[in-house]
Subunit: 217 residues, 2 copies
């Protein structure tokens, strides 16, 4: 059993590398078997289908993202500091990938699988939605804490932050813009400044409003 | 000759559809030949290699984008109206694709080809850079016309606008967010408001400064 799960983990690790390089369409059973030095039937002993491989690859990438980004950010104080931590950890995660061929498999997948119905797409939508929810939840807490103005549309704000993330990823990996990191930080600061209570000229609200009332838009 | 170029155009059209659905990794000579009902060697009479097909597909997508987005936007007056027209035409282009399987091949390609050196990647970088340049140039003219404040960093601004575009594409195609269009418009309005002379409390500058001085940051 231990040996079987070790082999499975090794297959997924190689599959992640192959999908990062060639996309999910390039992650075929034949090419993966060749890369690992295993027969196709040997591979099918671990994964019943191409779809099962896709799902396993994506699940592993999402799990790594959770460890490196989500869990680390939770160590920061509630509100704006935690939102900043989420964004900074995302940058580190993305930046660590820049030196590697292929880059962020999750961003890759968001484009490649967006029109292919199936369990891999479902998993991706779920994890991407969780990420956007984490950004808007942290923003909502920042409103409760009085860091951000009370009329902030936190879902729109998460959408705007995700835009900065996607543009940064493109600048890093496709365009190789030398100052991608600076642009990321300046665009994030611009959004944070627009969300802060002081930026609209209104006074900060009393902190710690209940979650229900803070949700109203 | 006419027949040959007709056939070539038909092959590219089918290749665009296949690449939109399956990505560039899924756009293989074998599958394309099968889709068209042609032998592989027949296909090779028109295109010498898989790379040549990729490049032709991308060039055609870029040409269509130029007609539908760039050229139409040029009909709007200089400055902020033209910038708005570029963004609105982009939205129409992207929105028209939502009903079709596969969606925007250019955005697809920006992720899939970002790590694959070659002529297709080169073409993509060039066209994406042209798009960003068009956004920052229109913003610079808006500064010259006195629509935007004189200290606007127009390259950062183009980066921020591209972020809204990428987040909108994700909301439309992956997440199927019902109010993607609203979010796009609100995020664009937010950026335009921040760029306008009046939003910083400074008075608008005299219009029509020379291009050189407007470029200074």
């Amino acid at each position: 059993m231990a040996k079987g799960s070790d082999t499975r983990a090794r297959i997924i690790d190689d599959a992640i590398k192959l999908a990062s390089l060639e996309g999910f369409a390039g992650l075929t059973v034949g090419r993966l078997a060749e890369r690992i030095g295993m027969s196709k039937s040997g591979l099918f002993a671990h994964f019943k289908s191409k779809e099962e491989i896709d799902v396993a690859v994506l699940a592993e990438a999402v799990a790594r993202f959770r460890d490196v980004v989500f869990l680390k950010a939770l160590q920061a104080p509630r509100g704006e500091p935690r939102l900043r931590a989420l964004l900074d950890r995302w940058f580190d995660w993305s930046n660590d990938l820049v030196g590697q061929p292929g880059g962020c498999l999750i961003t890759q997948a968001t484009v490649e699988l967006d029109d292919r119905p199936g369990r891999a797409r479902d998993l991706l939508v779920e994890s991407q939605q969780q990420w956007l929810d984490a950004l808007s939840r942290a923003s909502r807490v920042a409103v409760e804490e009085g860091h951000f103005r009370s009329d902030l549309d936190t879902e729109l704000f998460a959408f705007q932050l995700e835009g900065v993330i996607l543009a940064t990823h493109q600048a890093q990996r496709l365009l190789r813009t030398p100052d991608a990191e600076q642009r990321f930080h300046r665009a994030v600061e611009h959004l944070l400044a627009s969300a802060r209570a002081s930026s609209t000229g209104t006074t900060p609200r009393a902190p710690r409003r209940s979650r229900t009332s803070a949700k109203s838009r």
